[in-house]
């Protein structure tokens, strides 16, 4: 056990910190709504790209730095620590790119990877459907072969960035006769066609991070199938496994900063001397530190044993629950400001309600832990 960074890892961190200090993003646009914010994030990714920092975890042959998984975790911690915006094409660099690297043809890699990195082409993820959430393999969107093309009809939901995206990672049913997990195919769907309608989904925060997609006979050429016809479930799992890999390190650092802010306010108001507040803040501190330790432990296990341990599900579960507790306590400590519309604290509190749902609900995570980690019998459900 050695919880320090190697000289090489420290050098990586220092180089990144220096770069971030020298290249701060523009200030967040005060108005202009979601579009202006997105343009700001896109511009930020372009700058990361020019500095060679858009996706250091990518292999050098595709424009990354070939960073180790520890360096990649450092990258996401530092991005979080610097409070810079999330790069616009995070779904492309984190999910789409790595999926193509594993399953894509040489032509696909040549065509798609570079524009992901530069944010020239934005990617979105068309997995979930109104009736296929936690039970993703129940999805109903159909793709029917027509010459050397596929004709797609169906509906997708929770699609972040769809209004800005050029490409959609789409999982659709190509064989209705096959078993649930076997009749699926993974496509890259061009979003610039009239057959696709994007409707923003307004969240409880008032903003629209997500969209609904209404797809009515959209066309996808054969060449845009990833991993072969009928292999969509396996390819989709690659995407899903990458989903939390790096981002978790950014999220836990941001929660740490939020807690530090809250502790400072509590101290300022003399509430750290009140045992009720002190006890809860200290518990949140223990949880924050334990999340960080578990995340690093998960990384060690993945490096040693080739697969992540149970920590992944535990980290996401503990993080989402802790963020909700933290932002709720903030209302008690900060007071009316935390309930006033459009303040930072009110936004954090409302946004946190989504944490226990997005990327695997807490209920599903508990099932995963119970079945796959503890080996408890699977709940018998209709297939």
């Amino acid at each position: 056990m050695d919880l320090t960074f190697s000289p090489q890892e420290t050098a990586f961190r220092d180089e990144l910190r220096a770069w971030l200090a020298d290249n701060p993003p523009d200030p967040k646009p005060a108005d202009g709504g979601d579009d202006a914010q997105y343009a700001w994030r896109r511009d930020w990714q372009r700058r990361l790209y020019e500095g060679g920092w858009a996706a250091p975890q990518w292999p050098t042959e595709y424009g990354g730095r070939g960073s180790t998984s520890t360096e990649s975790a450092i990258y996401f911690e530092e991005i979080g620590r610097a409070r810079v915006p999330m790069p616009a094409n995070i779904l492309g660099t984190l999910l789409g790119g790595p999926t193509l690297m594993l399953w894509g043809t040489p032509e696909q890699k040549e065509r798609y990877l570079a524009p992901i990195l530069s944010a020239e082409e934005i990617w979105c993820q068309g997995f979930s459907e109104p009736d296929a959430g936690s039970d993703l393999a129940a999805l109903k969107t159909r793709a029917v072969k027509d010459g050397d093309e596929w004709v797609v009809t169906g509906q997708k939901v929770w699609t972040s960035g769809a209004q800005y995206a050029t490409w959609c990672m789409l999982v659709a049913r190509t064989d209705t006769e096959a078993a649930k997990h076997k009749g699926l195919t993974y496509f890259l769907m061009n979003m610039n066609q009239d057959a696709i309608q994007v409707r923003p989904l307004r969240q409880i925060t008032g903003e629209a991070e997500f969209n609904e997609l209404f797809i009515e006979e959209a066309r996808i050429p054969d060449a845009n199938i990833v991993g072969g016809v009928g292999n969509g479930w396996k390819v989709a799992l690659t995407t899903l496994m990458n989903e939390r890999a790096g981002l978790g390190f950014s999220l836990q650092i941001r929660m740490r900063q939020l807690l530090d802010d809250l502790i400072a306010i509590a101290a300022d108001r003399g509430l750290l001397d009140n045992p009720l507040y002190a006890d809860e803040l200290a518990e949140l501190h223990v949880r924050c530190e334990s999340i960080r330790l578990l995340a690093w432990k998960g990384l060690t296990d993945a490096e040693r044993y080739g697969q992540p341990g149970p920590e992944g599900s535990l980290v996401k579960w503990l993080w989402s629950d802790t963020n909700q507790r933290l932002t709720q306590l903030a209302v008690d400590i900060v007071g009316p400001e935390a309930l006033t519309a459009n303040t930072g604290w009110s936004y954090e509190q409302l946004r946190a309600r989504g944490n226990t749902i997005e990327g695997g609900t807490t209920e599903v995570l508990k099932n995963i832990v119970a079945e796959r980690v503890l080996g408890l019998p699977r709940l018998k459900v209709a297939v």
Binding site: M1, A278, D279, A282, E289, P310, L314, N367
Partner: protein, 341 residues
């Protein structure tokens, strides 16, 4: 950055688990717990293997290994509930090594390292230390007061009145002594107490881990309504929560053990975090174990109650979760006042 054990550490863990699975079987633990006796043969065997001195310096007859190795043994002994005075002895040794004078170390550490001397550590509150684990067997007792001052006493200098606790896998006593009895430990008492907290936390991790293991085995096997009760989410989600609590405690205890050797400046905070997480985990996880066992879990015959009782005493030892969190809040307040996050 490497969170894993070294090959040597994994070997210590493996051999300890195998040895205790054989020597401290549940029926044997029960036999000693019901008779109110220590397993002297096992203590002799563990002593011959050098366990009591694993983290004491080689110049004191110890093995000179680190706090991580000690934590591994504490966890395994917690898992098995072996009826031996290991934890109190290493806690006393830790205090004397960290805060004792050269002469005090010379006098006591050799025996504590070899296991020929048994030690105990108590906390004085209002003139007496209650439920001092291992005190009836101890030859040397360290009494701390308010976590900052400590005295070391030969057992005959103290008044030791055996009082049974709810955890009959270990002996306990009320200890008091005249104010001038024994010798003060003049060194860094807090450094010793923090290391003792890490040892207790690791034992609690082992207790929690074993309670979860027993519970998972039970709910898989126990059938009602034609299915394993473990297939019900009300039960399986409880088990998942037990794992989360255990891993939260394990990660903070491992971090604290590491800081003790590698980054002592962070030890006070890390030790308080570990003891807070482990105390909560120990109590919650063993309570859940009783609940998930149903009626049988409430009987004397089932073994889960020994784990519950051990967890209760360990959780309270040297300050429970609330005490630790109050300590942490003070650290956070100080840090906030200095403007460092």
């Amino acid at each position: 950055m490497d969170f894993g054990f070294t090959d040597d550490q994994r070997e210590i863990q493996r051999t300890a688990r195998e040895l205790l699975a054989d020597r401290a079987r549940p029926d044997k633990v029960r036999e000693h717990a019901e008779a109110g006796t220590s397993d002297e043969a096992l203590w002799t065997e563990l002593s011959e293997l050098g366990w009591p001195g694993i983290a004491l310096g080689e110049d004191h007859g110890g093995q000179g290994l680190g706090r991580i190795e000690l934590s591994i043994l504490c966890e395994e002994l917690g898992r098995s509930l072996a009826p031996v005075p290991f934890l109190p002895s290493v806690m006393a040794g830790t205090l004397i090594e960290q805060a004792g004078s050269h002469a005090q170390q010379e006098r006591w550490l050799g025996g504590l390292a070899s296991g020929e001397t048994v030690g105990a550590l108590g906390e004085l509150v209002g003139g007496a230390a209650e439920l001092v684990i291992g005190a009836p067997e101890a030859q040397v007792i360290v009494l701390i007061e308010e976590g900052r001052t400590a005295r070391v006493l030969a057992a005959e200098e103290a008044e030791v009145e055996p009082i049974a606790s709810i955890d009959s896998t270990r002996s306990t006593a009320r200890v008091s002594a005249p104010e001038d009895a024994g010798e003060p430990l003049e060194g860094d008492v807090a450094a010793g107490v923090d290391r003792a907290l890490v040892a207790v936390s690791s034992e609690l991790v082992g207790v929690s881990d074993r309670a979860l293991e027993m519970t998972v085995a039970y709910v898989k096997e126990r059938r009602q309504f034609g299915v394993s009760v473990g297939s019900y989410q009300a039960v399986s989600h409880r088990c998942a929560q037990m794992l989360l609590d255990t891993e939260k405690a394990r990660s903070t205890a491992a971090f604290a053990a590491w800081t003790a050797d590698a980054d002592p400046e962070r030890l006070p905070e890390a030790a308080a975090m570990a003891k807070a997480a482990a105390s909560d985990a120990g109590r919650e996880v063993t309570s859940s174990a009783i609940q998930a066992h149903g009626g049988i879990g409430f009987t004397w015959e089932a073994d889960v109650h020994w784990l519950y009782k051990r967890a209760q005493l360990d959780a309270a030892l040297l300050g429970g979760a609330k005490v630790q969190r109050a300590h942490l809040a003070a650290i956070l307040a100080e840090r906030s006042a200095l403007g460092v996050a």
